[in-house]
Amino acid sequence: MPDETLVALILQGDSGAFAPLVERHKRGIVNFLYGTVRSTEDANDLAQETFIRAYSHLGTFNPQLAKFSTWLYQIARNAARTHLGKERRRPQSEELFEDETLEQRLPDTRREASPDAMILADEEQRAVRAALLSVPERMRTALSLRYYRHMEYQEIADTMNVSLGNVKTLIHRGKAALARALGRERGARERSTTQEVGGRELLCL
C-alpha cells in the first residue's frame, strides 16, 4: 500500500496505519540522521521524534505538493538542525562517539582474524564521521542523504528544496571540505605521534 494511502487512512481515524510507515522508513531516517549527528543514540532519539512529530502534524501534509518520504526527511532535517543548535550552546564534551568507543571495547571475534585491518577500518570510519561533523549543515545533509541514505541527486534536491545543480555543488564542495578536514586531522595525528616519540626520547635521556 503506498505511503499516501496509509496517510489517508490515518486521517480517517485509523492510527494503526502509521505502523507500516514507521517500519518502512525507520532504517532510512535513522541512517540519514546518523550521518548528521554525533552518535547512534542521538540518531535513534531524533528519528523517533521525527515520526512522532510527523504523526501529530499529519493533517498539514499535502500529498499534492510532496511525497510523504520527502516530507518526512524534511522533518528529520529540521529535528537534526534544532538538536545541533542546542548542542552548540552546550559545552562540548571531549568524548566523541562514546557509543562507538564502547562498541570497540567489546570483544569482537572478527577482529582476531585480522586485527590491524579491522581497527584501521573502524578508525577510518570515526575519522570520516568526525570530519563530517565539521562540515557546514547544508553540505553535511546532502552528503548524508547521498552516502548514508543512498538517495539519487534528484531526490536530494526535492528533500532539500534546492535545484539539482545546487545538490551537485553541495556534494562536491562537501567532499572537498571533508578532504581538507581529513588532511588536517592526519596532520595533527602525525604531529602528536612525533611529539610522543620526542617525549620518550627525553625520558630515555
Binding site: 501529530s56 493533517g59 577510518e124
Partner: protein, 176 residues
C-alpha cells in the same frame, strides 16, 4: 586550461559527465599541475571513504516506542483551513472597513487614527498570510496570498480615491 577552470569542472569530471574532449583537457591540465592532481586524488579518496561508511540499524523496540508515544496523541485531522477561507477573510475584512467608511462610522479624516488602522490591518493580514502558509506548509501559496492582499489593497486605494485631495489635511492632523 588554468587551475580555476579545472576546479570548476572537476565535479562533472569525477561524476563522468564531461564529454571526452573536455575530460581530456582536464587530464592534460592535471599532468602538468601537481596541485590539481593532488586535489583530484583527495576527492577520489574521500569518495571511496564515503562509500565505505557503515550504516546503523534502528535500536530494538524502535517501532514499539513510536507507536506507544503516538497512542497518547490525538488522532490527526486534515487541516481544514484552506486558501478560499483566507480569501474570504480578506474580502470580508475589506467589506467591513469600506462599509464603515461609507457609513462614516470610522472617522478616517483623523490622520493618526487612519495611519494606525492601516498599519494594524497590514500587520494582521501579514501575520495571517504567514500563519496560514506556515501551518499548511504552502510556501507557494504564501506568495499567492501576499499577491491577493496587494491586489485588494490597490482596488481599495482606487475605491477611496475621492479622499485623496483631503489627504494632506489628514496627515497634518487637521479635520478636512
Amino acid at each position: 586550461m588554468n587551475c580555476s577552470a579545472c576546479e570548476a569542472r572537476l565535479a562533472a569530471y569525477l561524476d563522468g559527465e564531461l564529454s571526452a574532449r573536455d575530460a581530456q583537457a582536464i587530464e592534460a591540465h592535471m599532468n602538468s599541475c601537481a596541485s590539481c592532481r593532488v586535489l583530484v586524488n583527495d576527492l577520489r579518496a574521500v569518495e571511496i571513504k564515503l562509500q565505505g561508511l557503515r550504516g546503523v540499524e534502528p535500536r530494538p523496540g524502535f517501532d514499539v516506542a513510536v507507536m506507544a508515544a503516538i497512542a497518547a496523541l490525538p488522532v490527526p485531522k486534515p487541516a481544514r483551513l484552506r486558501l478560499r477561507w483566507f480569501v474570504a477573510y480578506v474580502a470580508a475584512a475589506w467589506a467591513v472597513l469600506i462599509t464603515l467608511t461609507v457609513a462614516r462610522v470610522i472617522d478616517w479624516q483623523h490622520a493618526f487614527a487612519a495611519v494606525a488602522i492601516e498599519l494594524g490591518k497590514v500587520a494582521a493580514a501579514g501575520s495571517t498570510v504567514l500563519g496560514v502558509g506556515l501551518r499548511l506548509h504552502l510556501t507557494t501559496f504564501v506568495g499567492a496570498g501576499i499577491g491577493i492582499e496587494m491586489l485588494v489593497l490597490l482596488v481599495g486605494a482606487f475605491a477611496l480615491r475621492r479622499f485623496y485631495p483631503q489627504m494632506r489635511g489628514w496627515f497634518a492632523g487637521a479635520p478636512a
